[in-house]
């Protein structure tokens, strides 16, 4: 690595990790979660970055080299369709196949009566989560995997072979990408490992949101037991992918626990206990978690405040970042708070005004990372992102 890049990387890593420990670094770190924005900026289509992950990696590195960012994710257009097609996954709508080439990939939730897990199958999931996924769930979500007891096929066999090989190839590519980001632009890879709350997994990939909401009333004990059964597995997977050096956090992608998807009482009973248990377990083992809290989580902030100091970084999307700072700022670093619609439709001056307001309101004592409110897709304007970046660099100096 060139000496200049080595120096820059060390400087950025120190800045980023200091903020995440809720300390005051030399400057406010900038860590934008840019997804399809990278395609537009690099002159590519959404189809290209979804189907050709090397192009997605290249686009992410181009952005990292052109903008003065401290940390990025190697590829936020995470759902590489080469892999999802190898497995035969049904729930992806892919640009250039199911969608226009300039529309980002989408998850498709099946109708309630065709949910990937039926309402009478909780006991199977609870008894043996891994067995349920292999034997029941995977054949349902894949066009190629044969259901248990039915004749197998070449497509069935190929799905495991190609899916496994593709997954190793893709995950290995992230290691190469992290090294290239470091060497080419001195940029830190922002997160390592993945976590989702048990409740979110049931909503996203098993029962669907509507099905799960009905279950909260019709069979709440089963939902609780399923969350408890999933929790140790989700913690294990999260720890397996965590940064061995303990520098960067595990990414937690939070969807269905926010307002108005569930009530505060439902959050307290169903969402929080097992997620809290996982976070405490990970923190005990030295792993910090980035709560990427999509939507509005303001009604749940008191629960988050129960967690040990510095155990999480809390990212604010549609909630009130100033309220989050009041309730959590003493214990945790915050990130986000710059609305995506402003970055898509606002002027650079409006972006700068918002950045100033957020920095003045929450970043005075450190413990803040500049970022948009949510993952930036193809509607984010480059001039807005440049305004956010340049203003933070000029104004966000301690």
């Amino acid at each position: 690595m060139p000496a200049e890049m080595e120096r820059l990387y060390a400087e950025r890593l120190k800045r980023y990790t200091a903020a995440m420990r809720n300390e005051k670094p030399d400057k406010i770190p900038i860590r934008p979660f840019v997804a399809e924005f990278t395609a537009v900026y690099a002159g590519l289509t959404c189809q290209e970055v979804t189907q050709d992950y090397q192009k997605a990696f290249d686009a992410a590195r181009k952005c990292a080299a052109d903008f003065d960012w401290d940390a990025v994710v190697g590829n936020m257009v995470y759902g590489w369709s080469g892999l999802t097609q190898a497995i035969g996954l049904k729930y992806y709508a892919v640009p250039g196949v199911d969608l226009p080439v300039d529309t980002g990939f989408q998850y498709v939730e099946p109708p309630e009566d065709q949910a990937w897990m039926q309402p009478d199958e909780y006991d199977q999931l609870i008894e043996d989560p891994t067995g349920f996924l292999f034997n029941v769930w995977l054949p349902r979500v894949s066009d190629d995997v044969s259901p248990m007891g039915e004749p197998t096929s070449m497509r069935n066999n190929l799905s495991f072979l190609k899916g496994g090989m593709a997954m190793l190839d893709y995950f290995g590519g992230f290691g190469t990408q992290a090294a290239a980001l470091r060497d080419e632009s001195g940029t830190v890879s922002a997160i390592s490992g993945i976590l989702k709350a048990p409740f979110d997994i049931i909503a996203d990939k098993l029962r669907g949101y509507k099905g799960l909401v009905m279950d909260l009333f019709r069979q709440p004990e089963k939902v609780q037991a399923a969350c408890e059964a999933l929790a140790p597995h989700l913690q294990h997977v999260a720890a397996s992918g965590a940064d061995p050096d303990g520098n960067v956090p595990i990414g937690l992608w939070m969807h269905r626990g926010c307002s108005p998807f569930v009530s505060p009482a439902q959050f307290e009973r169903f969402y929080w206990p097992t997620l809290k248990q996982i976070i405490l377990g990970l923190w005990k083992d030295g792993h910090q978690v980035l709560f990427y809290a999509e939507g509005d989580w303001d009604t749940h902030l008191d629960y988050l405040a129960e967690l040990p100091e510095r155990s999480i970084v809390f990212h604010v999307d549609r909630g009130d970042i100033f309220e989050a700072h009041k309730k959590l700022g003493e214990k945790f670093c915050l990130s986000g708070g710059i609305p995506n619609d402003l970055l898509a439709y606002g002027t650079p001056d409006e972006v700068r005004d918002r950045c100033k307001k957020v920095i003045d309101g929450v970043a005075g004592n450190g413990g803040y990372i500049m970022d948009a409110a949510a993952i930036m897709q193809d509607d984010t304007k480059a001039e807005s992102l440049k305004a956010m970046t340049d203003f933070t660099r000029e104004y966000g100096v301690y």
């Binding site: 043996d128 989560p129 891994t130 899916g163 997977v237």
Partner: protein, 56 residues
């Protein structure tokens, strides 16, 4: 449900070593090495299905 399906699968395992061990009448060499190798590769299968669920 078959016997195989009634296994207790702890996090990180698809086919636990205790179950696989029954298929070997005798291991004349280093059993710990056989066990570790089995579990390391078995963990890749575990990671495959859980990453399908979580990441894709």
């Amino acid at each position: 449900m078959s016997e195989e399906e009634k296994l207790i699968r702890e996090p990180g395992a698809c086919v636990p070593w205790e179950e696989k061990r029954k298929e070997f009448p005798e291991i004349c060499g280093d059993e710990e090495l056989v066990k570790r190798t089995w579990e390391d590769v078995d963990a890749l299968g575990y990671m495959y299905i859980w990453q399908c669920l979580l990441s894709f």
